[in-house]
């Protein structure tokens, strides 16, 4: 019995590592679909991102003559980091495969590792826009780190653990001011999520205008399979942040969701809700002026601080 449970757990854990990259493009597709509907369009199918990735995998690759091995290895590192992150986030109400091996600081540091190489790859080919994108990415990323950390911290203190799995497990037991803190921290985390994933109002994920690009500018030089890895990694990262947001900050789970499929359904609904929030923001507000972004990031940080005061003081 015990062995069976362990082996089942192991299968689930393995499934999780596969599931996140497998579902991430769908998540992006759903957001795009929601946006299209809000814009009174039909929009592409929700599986369109998969088709794009599949096509890119068969295309020829063009590498700039000015670029170095950084350009070649960066997509691997960026993608691999999202795989590791995928093994760190709690998904099935079970501890993640890497639970106990890394905490929220590890999570933030891994995100920084990916951003570091992404920014370097933008600089590598020496194009005029790649460097600009890197500069913007690092400017935003450097100020988002504190926002992410401080929106995690209140939850960590309330849960008495900085481990993402334990935090997710214990947020369900929060009551009173704990829930208020959670809600405020969610606000901070949501802003950080938008900033980390180059969404509105920080960046326009579907822009064609090089001058306004952040994330897109860095991958302008990529083509074929490496582009696919980069796009896929971006989808993974967005999906991961959504999962973390849902698991840590929206612990609500109705009593009738007792069996695994029902739990999965509710979790899916919550993630869908977050996708809706992202799509709603993107369809209703304009991109912010670049130098107004620090204000927004500061408010993300301040929300975290307020939540922290509620949680720990």
């Amino acid at each position: 019995m015990g062995d069976a449970l362990i082996s089942m757990t192991n299968t689930t854990l393995l499934l999780q590592v596969v599931l996140i990259p497998a579902l991430a493009p769908l998540f992006v597709g759903v957001i795009r679909k929601m946006k299209a509907i809000m814009q009174n369009r039909h929009g592409a199918s929700i599986v369109q991102p998969y088709r794009e990735l599949r096509k890119l995998f068969t295309k020829e690759e063009i590498v700039s003559e000015d670029s170095s091995f950084i350009f070649l290895i960066a997509p691997f590192i960026v993608f691999a980091v999202t795989l590791v992150l995928g093994a760190m986030v709690p998904l099935f109400g079970l501890p993640a495969p890497l639970a106990g091996h890394g905490d929220l600081l590890t999570f933030i540091s891994l995100v920084a590792l990916a951003a570091f190489f992404l920014a370097l790859s933008g600089l590598d080919a020496g194009g005029a826009f790649g460097g600009m994108g890197s500069s913007r990415e690092m400017t935003i990323a450097s100020m988002t780190e504190a926002g992410v950390l401080f929106s995690f911290l209140p939850v960590a203190f309330l849960a008495a653990s900085a481990d993402l799995s334990l935090m997710a497990e214990r947020t369900g037991e929060f009551t009173g001011s704990g829930l208020v803190a959670l809600l405020i921290a969610l606000g901070g985390f949501f802003i950080a999520l938008l900033a980390e994933n180059a969404r509105y109002p920080f960046d326009n994920p579907s822009t064609h205008l090089e001058l306004t690009m952040v994330h897109e500018a860095m991958i302008l030089e990529y083509s074929g399979r490496r582009l696919a890895l980069m796009e896929w990694a971006a989808a993974n990262k967005l999906f991961l942040f959504a999962i973390v947001g849902v698991q840590l900050f929206i612990p609500w789970m109705p009593a009738w969701a007792a069996t695994a499929p029902l739990i999965a359904l509710v979790a899916g609904l919550k993630i869908g809700l977050l996708a809706f929030a992202i799509a709603f923001v993107e369809s209703t507000i304009a991109k912010l002026r670049y130098f107004r972004l620090p204000d927004l990031l500061l408010s993300s940080f301040m929300l975290g601080v307020i939540a922290l005061i509620l949680a720990a003081f």
Binding site: F57, T58, E60, E61, I62, V63, S64, E65, D66, S67, S68, I70, F76, I77, F79, A80, V81, V84, L98, G100, H101, G102, D103, T106, S109, L110, A112, L113, A115, F116, L120, L123, D124, G126, G127, A128, F129, G131, M132, S134, S135, R136, T139, A141, S142, M143, E145, A146, F150, L153, A156, F157, A160, E210, L220, G224, L229, Y290, L308, F313
Partner: protein
């Protein structure tokens, strides 16, 4: 061990002496002198490294009286675990820097210069261990002063450049202000204890009245803080470190400034174990400010070595954050967490020594190849200098506090001590600790941005000058030290858990923590858990997972079948050929951050615009934006003080006319005043 610790130390010091004397004797023949100095310095460092490891492994405190031929003073020597870890890192970096320096100087220094460097290098390398070893005030001050002077002469060793002489002058002034503070400090201690012996301070320190104790630790903060480069006493650092030859920069930035940290630990945790909480908060505040401002100034910098020097200020700030939390916790009576903070500070001290030396050595390789320190004139060096680039990249990731390198491990530990503070301390202290945590998070983010800039603009894209285009990779003599330091950075990162335990154990060896239990444990191999399981980290597992994930990624990549790859020019939106001028510059890269923090940094911007047709003004011919960042402390604190001193000097100078009669008048007046005083 064939030789005892004492014999090893003596051997090391004699080797340095032989090196200094030998290279002085051979100064006419630069290459011989240089070789001699290098061999002596390496052997000396090796002996001292052995002594340090011997002490660390034996858990014994080594004490001795060095045979100094003088009746006036004794030179008593003591090496405990804390000293040994500092001695270990100092001698390790000394060893690598000496090996590196041999090829480095051969590349572009004239032989007379090499002889000078050889002499002072050996003196400098001998003085740093002596500072660590010294166990009485006189011996300490002498070693400290030798260290300052030797490093000063190394800073100005390339005195053909005017800037170096000026940087050396500022260093000289600041370091002596520091020494003055230390002199006063030791005089106060002498008044209270009647002894110059550190052991006396250890036993009588707790008995000294609180007012004097505060005065002493504040003087220590000024004196040792200046050497460590804390803000606002940092102004010498960004000038002096880059001016020296690169292996000396590595020594100064990597280990010399750590002697300040070492002595601060001695004073704050050994001599005065009962300091008020506000002193800890002061250290914490200085640490936070130094960290954030250090990295912001670094972002604005486009002299590669100055940029690294500013990062030393940042990292000293991070170390002080650890130290400050330790002091606050100790004052609050929570020694378990104090150990965590002190362990974090020690760990970061060692880590910074490793990655900063690595960065300075690889930057030196770039400077030697291009004869320029200006980042804007580099570009594309990764193709001509792949080894240097790789190790600079390793250093960059490590210093940015990114997993899996060592910077992450110690920053993680520092964060944990801050998190601990947010739970257990009083409200005011909690707020202070939370602010420190926020500034540490901001610092880590900004450091990553700065090193994307430093690495990207230096090594990536196209060369922006002929020198960069024709750069040559450095030789093996320069590569090996980089490889060793790079591997150390990785090992200390991947095995961050066990390493953290070692540093906390060293912190726990201090007498005040004799009865404190460790608040940290290793669950399983490498899995570090602190604060009762609040924070857990297993960098080894994460690194392993990362490696596995890379393999999986490669497998997914290979699923696409055979790779079809074509080399083509960079996509330039149809505006080929791309000239290097179309790449982003270092100034442009960090401009946004500088503008965002403009309220603190007060950047000045100068725009130069020339038109093809002055009357029409439609088509600019030339448009340049020059961003400049004044060091505010230089402008608002040191500048006025220096001007005031000069103004006073000018007034006093008026009394010096050179007229004998006037001087006779002064003598008579003086005598009259003295007589009047005596009569009174």
């Amino acid at each position: 061990m064939i030789l005892s610790t004492g014999q090893l130390i003596l051997t090391g010091l004699m080797a340095f002496a032989a090196g200094a004397i030998g290279s002085f004797l051979f100064r006419g023949r630069g290459s011989v002198s240089h070789l001699w100095a290098t061999i002596a310095a390496s052997l000396g460092s090796l002996a001292l490294l052995a002594a340090a490891i011997d002490t660390l492994l034996s858990y014994e405190t080594f004490t001795a009286i060095l045979p100094v031929p003088s009746n006036l003073m004794s030179f008593s020597v003591r090496l405990d675990d804390l000293g040994a870890i500092f001695l270990a890192i100092i001698s390790l970096v000394s060893l690598l820097a000496s090996i590196y320096g041999y090829s480095y100087l051969n590349r572009h220094t004239p032989s007379a210069g090499k002889a000078n460097v050889g002499i002072f290098l050996n003196v400098f390398l001998a003085s740093m261990p002596l500072v660590i070893l010294a166990n009485d005030a006189i011996a300490f001050l002498i070693s400290w002063e030798i260290m300052s002077l030797a490093s000063y002469f190394l800073v100005v060793s390339d005195h053909r450049e005017e800037g170096n002489v000026r940087a050396g002058f500022i260093y000289f002034v600041m370091t002596h202000i520091a020494t003055a503070a230390l002199l006063v400090m030791f005089m106060l201690l002498f008044r209270e204890t009647g002894s110059f012996d550190f052991d006396a301070y250890r036993s009588f320190g707790p008995l000294i009245s609180e007012g004097t104790a505060i005065a002493v630790v504040l003087l220590a903060l000024v004196g040792f803080g200046t050497k460590a480069g804390i803000i606002p006493f940092h102004i010498w650092l960004p000038g002096a470190h880059p001016a020296a030859p690169s292996h000396i920069s590595a020594l100064m930035s990597g280990v010399m400034i750590k002697t300040g940290i070492y002595m601060l630990i001695r004073v704050c945790f050994e001599f005065f174990p009962t300091l008020p909480s506000w002193f800890g908060l002061l250290v914490l505040a200085i640490g936070s400010v130094s960290a954030v401002l250090g990295v912001l100034y670094a972002l604005a910098e486009h002299d590669l070595k100055r940029l690294l020097a500013f990062h030393s200020i940042e990292n000293i700030g991070i170390i002080l954050i650890g130290l400050g939390t330790a002091l606050v916790f100790h004052a609050a009576g929570n020694d378990g967490l104090a150990l965590l903070g002190l362990g974090a500070a020690l760990f970061h001290t060692i880590n910074h020594a490793i990655f900063k030396s690595l960065l300075f050595l690889s930057a030196g390789s770039v400077v030697a190849a291009t004869h320029s320190r200006n980042i804007e004139s580099y570009g594309g060096l990764i193709r001509t200098m792949p080894v240097t680039a790789t190790f600079f990249l390793v250093g960059s990731i490590a210093i940015s506090g990114i997993i899996p390198f060592n910077g992450f491990a110690s920053e993680w530990l520092t964060f944990q001590s801050l998190f601990g503070g947010m739970v257990v301390l009083d409200v005011t202290e909690r707020i202070a600790v939370a602010i420190a945590a926020a500034s540490l998070a901001l610092t880590a983010g900004l450091a990553a941005a700065c090193f994307v800039k430093a690495f990207g603009i230096t090594f990536l894209a196209r060369p922006r000058s002929d020198a960069a285009r024709n750069a040559k990779e450095c030789g093996y003599g320069m590569r090996i030290p980089m490889v060793v330091l790079g591997l150390l950075a990785l090992v200390l990162g991947v095995f961050g858990g066990p390493a953290a335990l070692v540093f906390i154990a060293i912190a726990a060896s201090l007498p005040i923590f004799a009865t404190t239990g460790l608040s940290i444990d290793l669950a399983g191999a490498g899995n570090l858990s602190v604060l009762g399981g609040f924070g857990t980290i297993d960098a080894f597992a994460i690194a392993g997972a990362l490696a596995l994930a890379l393999l999986v990624t490669a497998a997914i990549f290979a699923l696409g079948g055979k790779e079809r790859r074509r080399i083509a020019p960079t996509w330039a939106c149809g505006a080929l050929p791309l000239s290097p001028r179309m790449e982003i510059t270092a100034t442009a890269f960090s401009r946004a951050i500088i503008t965002i923090f403009g309220g603190v940094l007060k950047p000045t911007k100068q725009t130069t615009l020339e038109y093809h047709d002055e009357r029409m003004r439609y088509f600019p011919k030339y448009h340049a934006v020059d961003m400049h960042l004044d060091d505010l402390f230089m402008r608002f604190i040191y500048g006025p003080i220096a001007r005031g001193v000069l103004a006073c000097a000018r007034i006093v100078a008026k009394t010096q006319s050179g007229n004998t009669h006037l001087y006779l008048l002064y003598v008579v007046a003086m005598l009259a005043i003295l007589l009047a005083w005596a009569m009174h």
